[in-house]
Symmetry: D2
Subunit: 258 residues, 4 copies
């Protein structure tokens, strides 16, 4: 039996890197796939792993090399990775690196949003006697690289989380607000974005409350429902390098009224 | 056995509407869900459908009412729908309407894009002797409400498609371009967007070619691979009202070189 | 500028076919992608469509040829399609057909289910005083090719739906049931499946009620919440050939108690 | 400003547990969401976290309690979790636990599959001179709780992976096979399943090769393309408790011929 072609590697390695400037941060987020080609026949035929670099190591290599300035462009970061593997593993014939760069739009020196496609929402509940109208947004991605802490929390036997005086805060906001029809959608979105950006956050709860307060104060809104998943960027052992993760995520939710 | 609660309706009704101004078009795209509540017990217990308005009718009602100026805000369109059903069906207790508004960003008087999150791509293939770098984009949504035709095509026994002198053109572009490392990603994206916007399109193929030509002429790019699904906006029987659809879609693909 | 390679076609064409035997039906559901290759340079360069068969025609061809017995295997149906296009369009160099066959498991002469992965659900709500436990299922796909009607419904100015004395009924059931902890999950699932299979359905509401009744009668369950989207298989103009569609869908929902 | 309602917790906590019997293993996989309610106003208003148990702790609690026999039913595991939080945190008013149980079908004492809906594939490439037919499968989930090792692999400076003499092996197989039209799809699927189940695996590569060998030996197949993502079940610090993860994943791929 012939092995006509073979390839192995790690897919969907997610990595983020903060590059700290004097008065602002740049932020690079990518999803990386690496595939190695070469003479790995003995691993297939005999289960001999002596030439097989674990795919787990490829993941750690992505995290480690994300400290290099090459991380600023997906092309240069891909080249750095390809050359690393070709240089270290002489039994390779070739390396493929595929990178998806996530596109964040700057909203402040340390804050960013993504999209649309988030979506604008309208919810109408009508009976013969009464009509309520809620407006809202679904899936509005916001992220900030500093200005967010989580400290002084309750600890129990299962608690291993470290105090975080300065962490990345990211969320995909779902919100609906009840109003008389006169609240301006664009103004509410602007208030949400600006409050998220400016707030000295002690927790997601704390920022959620600040957002609700800003909106209820300035717009003719009676009640607002805010749902803020805590989209974790887990630290790696390399400074300023994080791994974004979708599962699990925190979920903070509250209804605020005047 | 008691029927404690019941509700029925139509979900994921997609509708789009062009509002034609003198020198520009507005474009409204929404996904609508309608749920009716009332005394429908006999339909559950006895299969008596005499009070059951088909959910198919709700869909057609969305299309028909999308001609109303209320379509310009999701809230006012939702109210119009809720009042329509409450007014026509006296056996209803209540109506719920949920609307997701799709957010398009204007790029010209008749053209729009959405996102990010589309994604920037880098593809590296490296051996000990040779390295190729491709840059690209995945999932870049572009749409125009005019300046696109499809006429004079081949017909056979299964062809029912009408000649279209003026149709909506929408795509989710995937593209990769091979270069020496000196092509500027933002410039390529700008060329793609501007060519899509300005081109007097006779088909997706025709626009794909124009985009490739614009990019190869202006940037140090050797070869470009363009993949343009034709994301159909199907006409309804109501002028300027369309139903967007994901399945099936056309798929036009070519590799162009200098 | 050279056109190095090009290809065009229709993707995600969904088609279903009932093959009626004496005492049972076979059911074939597929998603088809077709791509044509040949000398289409003039369509790209000049927007000359005279050799371009519309992708819409490819869709109708899939529906028409689904009446052939070749539909029973994805391989033979793919060959039939490929030969059709090569035979009719002499300017083609090649055709690619990719087919995904959906796998339904027979539950009766006219009924089928798919999955897992549907999912088993448990919902616990606990306070210091009170605990409620609900069990359930999410995304349970069931389908029957006969034994389902929808007739005698309310009509208004927007109603175009035809009376259906015999139609396909398909759903993706979400259900949760409140019990004292002694309801057997496997037994409830069996009751749901058997009732769906055996019921002479006059509407989704009617079948939902029958399922609720069967479960509440036989198991120590206080209340059941049933949510049954009506997953439409739209008729084509070819007998026994349907096009499955995800958007829009009906949504029927009720809470039943003893 | 009033806090009308509030809730916080952790969603999408994925956990798996092997229960080792004498001659067979049971396997329980769930996705858990926990939400706590109580007087957390000070955390919202003042950013006072002293009553806030981190959502990270909820995750670790799920892992720890998965060692309890209650894990065998989603209802009993949900109750165990709810009682744990109510018992330990006297400031709570209530707890909600939502569990999705993944449904695996047993294929042997230590092996399982899930689905359909995986999908059957047919790929036809036809020119006027030549036709090739490939058959295949997409997304076929297989998992085994023992009989899989990964040891003796290459190590470098970034390698932290431990030798694994006995690990969970899980994949979502994509495969296509080239044949003359006489290969029986059901027989190939049976060979794939049985070989995966029986093979004493030294790596994914090793099992991939064994599957290819079994198929090429027994069926009139010329060439087979196998793609096996390594869907990781990461060990926790609790014996027999794992956390399933989608990102990143290994990807092993080869084409084998007679």
């Amino acid at each position: 039996m012939n092995i006509v072609e073979n390839r192995y590697g790690k897919s969907k390695v997610r990595v983020a890197r903060i590059v700290r400037g004097k008065d602002r941060h740049d932020f690079h987020e990518m999803t990386v796939a690496i595939a190695l080609e070469g003479d790995f026949d003995s691993s297939y035929r005999d289960g001999d792993n002596s030439l097989v670099l674990p795919t787990d190591t490829m993941k750690h290599t992505v995290y480690a090399l994300a400290q290099d300035p090459a991380v600023e462009q997906p092309e240069s970061f891909g080249l750095l990775l390809a050359r690393h593997f070709l240089g270290h593993l002489r039994h390779l014939r070739g390396v493929k690196v595929d990178i998806y760069g996530h596109l964040w739009s700057r909203k402040g020196p340390y804050s960013f949003t993504a999209g649309p496609p988030h979506r604008r929402i309208a919810k109408i509940v009508a009976t013969h006697d009464k009509v309520t109208v809620e407006s809202g947004v679904a899936g509005y991605l916001m992220m900030k690289t500093t200005g967010s802490a989580f400290e002084g929390f309750l600890r129990d036997e299962y608690t291993t989380l470290l105090e975080a005086p300065d962490r990345i805060l990211a969320t995909s906001l779902d919100a609906t607000w009840l109003h008389d029809g006169n609240a301006d959608w664009d103004k509410v979105m602007k208030l949400i974005t600006e409050t998220f950006t400016a707030h000295a956050s002690k927790s997601v709860q704390h920022t959620l409350y600040a957002i609700g307060e800003a909106v209820l104060k300035s717009e003719p809104i009676e009640r607002i429902h805010l749902k803020m998943p805590n989209k974790h960027y887990l630290p790696t052992k390399h400074a300023d390098v994080f791994t974004p993760t979708d599962e699990p995520h925190g979920l903070i939710e509250a209804v605020l009224s005047r």
